[in-house]
Symmetry: C2
Subunit: 307 residues, 2 copies
């Protein structure tokens, strides 16, 4: 039996291939679109696979996401049924994400870009050296929960918001209809929601209008959470004072996109957290071993929840 | 008896005066240089006072620094003897300082300025998204200790260096002759030393030469810790890859100073941590009350150590 990598938009497939070869030299590895023997494939390793394609593997037993996100898998209306789907959970990935988010929060709090501008004009302005902040984290899964833990540890006021009730959650938490109560408490919003049908476009004009005026926005989840033209509108209205974005609807962000030149928007190229091959490949191989040994899989997702 | 404020270079004396008046309306407050009755002064509140001046107060009982630093007091060779000296200790001040330092560390770790430059050229470059870091904190007093605590809490490897041995310190700690062992372990150096005769000019060419090549430097202590021309040399040699500086030998930093235009040096105008009037004035009044009540003072410094 063999493994197939199906990630038509990923440019780093040679490194994935090399990492698999190093850790499992005996393995037969197929790379889409050059699949030679679909019948032999029992495991697919996927990122943004063509919808419906997975039905072409009659002996498929395991679908592995190449990252922590699985929205690109569950979005497939023709996903083969009753096949387990797993994601990558990597402490190093959480470390990267949280550090990125805290960087963004502290740059706003201590006004890093203001002082950069002052450096250019050689201005020595000591007035109002910090902005009081209270952070709201949308999404309190593994990544959002870690951000809340670390903010608490360094003493920055923060609370979380999610869709479901959570009894006895370790941080201040709002859900469902309490969105306005949550928004009233915070002036920095971090989006770490999973991408589902319910959360696509969640960051839109109607939400931004309810922000405390001048709220700062950080989106590190998925590009589709944000209605991009609504951000431009919210910035011009002053509902939002600035944004740090790591993800975009179209990636790479097209050169003609207005975000590139917007002075209140900071862009990074989807690097807040990446899947390290060294971490991901062993997890995929271990889950395949467990599958063959009839052991419970690690980091299997609940398809009924979509994450 | 009365209090005298002696801070010839501070521009915010009116706010200090107002805060004292609000909290202690009955108090007689004198402001240097218009001291009307030096004999009545039992407490001086000082920042960079003229050396020798404090001998003009025959009934002086208490010298209060207006900030956490006291080097400007102990530097006076004609300081009256056997008069207690106190500093301001404010959790909010520690909070500000630590947040500033972590901001600087994370901006280096996640290469914030690299992505700012990429934004200008509209480059989408996902390669090498983070620099592995290990942080060394020079000075492990209240401020340095808090930075080490918070770095540990967010999982960033860090260790401290100081002059004296510390038994059972809660973080990895080097002292005295072990400087090279400390330097070998780290690629980010944060200076939070007190300014004393021993530490003035500590950040110099001979030290920088011993850094791991490309070490990143953050100085938030005092301008005189750094031999400023040696930093320029170390940057040109590649011993240091960049620096975030909040303090300078001459402040405001003169417009002709080469740091302003240096692309590898980031400048902030001594705002990493400031003394909040609201926090400092009550501490000064409380210590004066304790003095009159013969109670032990809070945050009294040990003049034999100079901090």
């Amino acid at each position: 039996m063999s493994i197939a990598i199906i990630a038509p938009y990923k440019k780093d497939i040679p490194v994935w291939k090399e990492t698999f070869k190093k850790l499992a030299p005996e393995l037969t590895l197929e790379i889409y679109p050059d699949i030679k023997n679909a019948k032999e494939v029992d495991t697919v390793v996927v990122w943004q696979h063509p919808h419906g394609l997975l039905r072409d593997f009659p002996n498929l037993k395991l679908i592995c996401s190449m990252g922590s996100g699985v929205d690109h898998i569950v979005a497939d209306p023709n996903l083969p049924e009753n096949i387990p789907v797993t994601r990558i959970v990597d402490p190093r990935l959480t470390y990267s994400m949280t550090n990125y988010v805290i960087m963004g929060i502290l740059n706003y709090h201590r006004q890093f870009t203001r002082y950069q501008a002052d450096k250019v004009t050689k201005s020595w302005d000591m007035s109002n050296p910090e902005i009081d902040i209270s952070v709201g984290v949308l999404g309190t899964g593994q990544l959002g929960g870690d951000v809340l833990d670390k903010l608490a540890a360094i003493g920055i006021p923060a609370c979380g918001y999610g869709n479901s009730p959570k009894e006895g959650y370790r941080h201040s938490y709002y859900h469902g209809e309490a969105l306005d109560d949550f928004l009233k408490r915070v002036n920095v919003i971090v989006c770490l929601l999973p991408l589902t049908e319910r959360t696509e476009g969640f960051l839109n004009k109607d939400l931004f209008r309810r922000f405390n005026p001048g709220t700062y926005l950080i989106n590190v989840a998925r590009g589709k959470h944000l209605v991009e033209e609504d951000l431009l509108h919210a910035l011009s209205e002053g509902w939002i004072s600035g944004a740090l974005l790591d993800v975009f609807i179209q990636e790479p962000l097209p050169v003609e996109h207005p975000f590139w030149d917007h002075p209140q928007i900071m862009i990074t190229p989807h690097i807040a957290c990446i899947t390290m091959y060294e971490a991901a490949v062993p997890q995929i191989l271990e889950n395949r071993r467990r599958l063959h040994a009839y052991e419970p899989l690690a980091n299997q997702i609940d398809l009924s929840q979509g994450y």
